[in-house]
């Protein structure tokens, strides 16, 4: 029988983008158990509701994450708007949906770059981030910010984008599609890339359901879960199916994210073509006094935003549950039985965001 050894992995490691620690119990080169530890960057952001008015709290919630910050801001606003019975004008909802889908594209491109960097394909990493840069430029031009936009507010959005500019954005994205197709062919067809991803870290459909996995992690294992289908924002006006793969390995998770970039470009084009005119926000009167659970489909999966009001300007409770929180158990499961050398790839393919998880 082989000797068991415990290898501490993280929170600082050259191929680990996030501060998570794992105690890897290994036999020879195989991982037999992985015990995760987080807690290095808990910032107590939820507790700031005691010191920030509900209209200001959106800035705090946006800072839960530096990648999917817009979605967090929108999720928070959605929860407070549900709490107060506020109906956001249609144009405001369309703009929110467009910015959210742009965030998904840049997040997936960022992830693809990190993945390429993880397996040592530097030029692929740079090309992924070069394309992402174009999306960040669109965000900067329309919101003023590249990562944290602060364009979402309770009641709607702060900035309008002209219909001409929106058409221009749809054209730019159409151009990106061509470049992205060249890039995605390398991710999906290159021998050395496939060698690192195919058959690695398999999570079956039953396991994904049992472990309550969310986002691309669940969809790559054949679970068709996509919270955009609950009809919030402008998604209720669109007809689309979640991107699902069934192999459940690292390659399938990569494929889901690549296909979702195309899907997001398509969604934006359809929204631009049917963009309604009118107001972008409504005035907010009073303060929240009830409770409301809102959900978003962030680039990494389903996120929860639970607000409890007490009739004052300060919320009693604001809870954010991020997708990585729910994917840690699935990650632990996929690590069991994998080769030690595949651990970084496996962790990367859940696209972890520990900053989100700890808040």
């Amino acid at each position: 029988m082989s000797k068991r050894t415990v290898i501490p992995f993280g929170p600082q490691h050259p191929v680990l983008p996030e501060p998570v620690h794992l105690d890897l119990v290994i036999e020879d080169e195989k991982v037999v158990e992985a015990i995760p530890s987080i807690g290095y960057i808990h910032r107590g952001l939820e507790k700031l509701v005691e010191k920030r008015e509900f209209t200001e709290m959106v800035y705090v919630i946006e800072r839960v994450c530096g990648i999917c910050s817009f979605g967090h801001g929108w999720g928070y606003c959605k929860s407070v708007e549900g709490n107060m019975g506020i109906e956001v004008p249609e144009r405001g909802e369309f703009l929110r949906t467009i910015w959210h889908e742009l965030s998904r594209i840049h997040s997936h491109l960022l992830w693809l770059g990190l993945l390429a960097d993880g397996f040592g394909f530097e030029s692929l990493f740079m090309h992924s981030w070069r394309i992402r840069e174009t999306v960040l430029d669109i965000l900067e031009r329309t919101t003023g910010g590249r990562v944290i936009f602060s364009v979402c507010k309770v009641g709607g959005v702060r900035k309008d984008v002209s219909n001409e500019e929106l058409k221009g954005i749809a054209d730019i994205l159409e151009g990106i599609k061509k470049e992205f197709t060249t890039l995605s062919k390398v991710f999906l067809d290159d021998y050395s890339v496939k060698n690192r991803l195919v058959g690695v870290g398999v999570l079956s459909t039953a396991e994904a359901a049992e472990l309550c996995a969310v986002g691309p992690m669940a969809r790559a294992s054949g679970v068709p879960l996509d919270i955009r289908l609950d009809g919030h924002g402008a998604y209720g006006r669109l007809d689309f199916e979640p991107v699902v793969e069934t192999d459940g390995d690292c390659y399938a998770r990569c494929k889901v994210r690549i296909r979702e970039v195309y899907q997001s470009i398509d969604i934006i084009a359809r929204l631009v073509a049917t963009m309604p005119d009118g107001e972008i926000a409504v005035a907010v009167k009073g303060s929240p006094s009830g409770e409301f659970v809102a959900r978003m489909e962030q680039p990494r999966g389903e996120a929860y935003y639970y607000s409890v009001g007490n009739g004052s300007k300060f919320l009693e409770r604001m809870r954010v549950r991020t997708p990585t929180n729910m994917n840690i158990p699935a990650m632990v499961k996929t690590l069991q039985g994998c080769e030690l050398a595949d651990v970084p790839m496996l962790i990367l393919t859940i696209d972890p965001c520990i900053s989100c998880t700890e808040r």
Binding site: S37, I38, G39, Y40, H42, G44, K47, K78, G82, A209, E210, L211, C212, L225, I227, L229, D230, G231, H232, Y235, G236, L238, D239, F240, E291, F292, V293, A294, R295, E302, Y304, Y306, V308, N310, E316, R317, R319, R321, N325, M326, I328, P329, A330, E358
Partner: protein, 127 residues
């Protein structure tokens, strides 16, 4: 497309003693665990369990007394260990039969159980 489902809010009160049965029933009905959290609303502590099926939310809410020990649902939904350890670290509630217990060391906070400092004084939480 399940239009309008995001507006449906079902929040069902549940007694602490009935949590396990209620959660077991939901699992039997095909619900997926979405999240768990504790809240301090006025002077009362509440635990909210959120479940999802076909994009419809179902929430169970239990009102708990200070320092109460709660039944762990990790025997039914193993991933709940993430939430139960978080609640223990931030609110000081302990869970009976927790499948993966970090013993109060899941999150590292400057002060123990920041949402409920009283629990740290009474329970003598480890630093």
């Amino acid at each position: 497309m399940a239009e309008g489902k995001h507006l449906i809010q079902k929040i069902v009160p549940v007694a602490v003693g009935d949590i396990l049965n209620a959660v077991q029933d939901l699992k039997g009905d095909g619900y997926r665990l979405g999240q768990m959290c504790a809240s301090k609303v006025k002077d009362e502590f509440q635990i909210l369990y959120s479940f999802d099926k076909d994009y419809e939310l179902m929430n169970l809410k239990a009102v708990v007394g200070e320092g109460a020990e709660l039944p762990s649902i990790t025997g039914i939904y193993w991933p709940a260990f993430i939430y139960e350890n978080e609640i223990r670290d931030l609110f000081g509630f302990k869970f009976k039969n927790l499948a993966l217990d970090y013993g109060g060391h899941f999150f590292k906070t400057a002060i123990p159980t920041p949402w409920n400092p009283q629990a740290a004084k009474e329970g003598g939480e480890d630093e």
